[in-house]
Amino acid sequence: MTAEALVNGALLGGLYALVALGLSLVFGIMRVVNLAHGIIVIAGAYFAIVITRQVPVDPLLTFLVVGPAIFLIAALTQRLLLQRLIGQSLEAPLVATFGLLLVGQGLFTYVFGTSPLSMSAPWAQNSISVFGMSILTVNMVAFALAVAVIIATQLVLTRTRFGAALRASASDPETASTLGVNINKMHALTFGIAASIAALAGIVYGTGLSVNPNDALPMLVLGFTVVVMGGVGNVPGTLVGGVLVGVVAAAVGGLIGPVYSPIAVNVLLLILLLVRPRGLFVRTTPRKPKTPAVTPNAATPAEVAA
């Protein structure tokens, strides 16, 4: 195994962070784990594939259409279906999002079949030489996009009124709503934004790698591993988690064999749940809280330490 493989793995980890970010936002703000998250990533890729088949544009540009479309579908789904189920029982949102996963999987299998599909872009197959290492451009694009989206998300959450309202609706929905925050609207927006970030991840995924409908569950577990590693709702932590997962996958793939790197990611999740269930960056071990979710207010390391 070479440093080159590790660096490529770390950069690809940016893509994993992008997959995980929406999951982390929804979990952190709405206290719901969206089991359909993986299929949204895949939906983003398929939407982009459909567009690039019709119009010869760069796959990344399709986000201008795919992003808003997925945002609308997700926000409407949240408004019409999930909102009523949250708080009804613990299982209800899980069952409903699992149902959405099955529906999405069924639809995409029906339309596209189960063989992996991908898009081509002029830059995707190139590689650049850095310090004598050959780095795939697609990995660099993925990493740059992840950094940009994560910084933007963090700034919105911490520096804007909208972000403050989001954080308020996460940490104390009742007080927030008495102060004029429309919780339902916040949740629909969160769900929509999370889904369009997932769709962006899907577009990159479909360009650099390939997608098929059966990847939805492994994709969800991958995202969840990153979320657990970085800490739920911890936006910068997502990037660190993604990079670490990328490095582990690359290391196992290089040392043992590429077949074992997906297994390694899943084993990593189990080990994390056993030793650091609240993420790598929670320094103190607090008294067992009722909900494991750390709210996004705890986004900065200083706040986490407090």
Partner: protein, 333 residues
């Protein structure tokens, strides 16, 4: 609720009668119906076993395919490499699955149910990925159980009927025991239950282990039924997904829910869409979304509330027509 010993005995008696009828059936019904009933019984057993942790315990497991596969492979390995007889191998399959669940409960049940759900699907992905490459168990080619060591068709049917009923009886007993009460208390309000001295992790782990044991037993009978097994079918996530859909449609956390759900999904839906697996999956998704948002207690819940309404109406019509005193009535008098 905890029933009186007399009530529990009569509840179990119902299942024993059903078992008696099922044991009598082979040879007295046609081959086709027997085959269908056999598959239905396998699904009832699987759905019921999943129901113990997923319904009664409220922990949605996506990893039960691991126990189906572990049960089936343990049986096959014990019979092929160990030369053991099938009854021992069936029990071995159950025990190994239970052991696996005990081990898995350590990381999976540390946090809330969501972690369990995703953790179990991680385990399912690991297991399939591992089994495909493990040469000791025949990699992707799988294993062939010698046919002469397997039970006869009649005995196989009776074994599966016995195990399916066993799953139902175990669920019934759990629902009417203090353990079941603790489990449901943890499901409904973990904080309150642990404040009253119940260990949430402990009861959930026990339910998971029992559920895995029964799923392992069913998995070994699936291997007996198929005679040749390979990882992609034995460790397929569809086992879990179908069982989950059955339980939700029938009614989470009830004894009859999984039975009715298995009948609806296997007999009415899947068999009529046999050549349309994609539509099957799609329909399953739509069904569970509909059920959880319109009738979260499933068919059993609907039947119960309908029955309660009928009773209320009957009481109102043939009971004493005593009008409640309303201000108007008082004023008239």
């Amino acid at each position: 609720m905890i029933g009186s010993p007399k009530r529990i005995a009569s509840g179990i008696a119902v299942w024993l009668v059903i078992l008696g009828v099922l044991l009598y059936l082979p040879g007295h019904i046609g081959r086709g119906p027997q085959e269908i009933l056999l598959n239905l019984l396998i699904w009832i057993g699987l759905a019921q076993a999943w129901n113990i942790i997923g319904g009664v315990g409220g922990q949605l497991s996506l990893g039960h395919s691991v126990f189906v596969g572990a049960g089936g492979y343990t049986l096959a390995m014990m019979m092929i490499k160990g030369g053991l007889s099938w009854p021992l191998a069936v029990i071995g399959g159950g025990l190994l699955s239970a052991l696996l669940a005990w081990f898995l409960a350590l990381p999976l049940l540390r946090l809330s149910g969501v972690y369990f759900t995703i953790g179990t699907s991680a385990v399912a992905i690991i297991a399939l990925g591992w089994m495909v490459t493990w040469d000791w168990t025949g990699e992707a080619r799988g294993l062939n159980i010698p046919l002469d060591a397997l039970p006869s068709k009649t005995l196989k049917f009776q074994l599966i009927a016995f195990l399916a009923v066993l799953c139902c009886v175990v669920t019934y007993l759990i629902l009417h025991s203090s353990f079941g009460l603790r489990l449901m208390a943890v499901r409904d309000d973990e904080g309150a239950a642990s404040a009253l001295g119940v260990s949430p992790r402990g009861v959930k782990a026990k339910a998971f282990i029992v559920s895995a044991f029964l799923t392992g037993l069913m998995g070994s009978t699936i291997a007996i039924n198929q005679a040749s097994i390979e990882p992609y079918s034995m460790f397929n996530l569809r086992w879990t997904v179908t069982a989950l859909v059955m339980v939700i449609v029938g009614g989470l956390g009830t004894v009859w829910g999984p039975v009715i759900g298995a009948f609806i999904i296997y007999y009415l839906v899947d068999r009529s869409l046999q050549d349309q697996p994609v539509i099957q999956a799609l329909l399953s998704g739509v069904l569970i979304i509909l059920v959880i948002s319109v009738a979260p207690d499933g068919v059993v819940g609907l039947a119960r509330s309908a029955w309660a309404k009928v009773r209320a109406m009957r009481d109102a019509s043939d009971g004493d027509p005593q009008e409640p005193l309303t201000p108007g009535v008082v004023a008239h008098a």
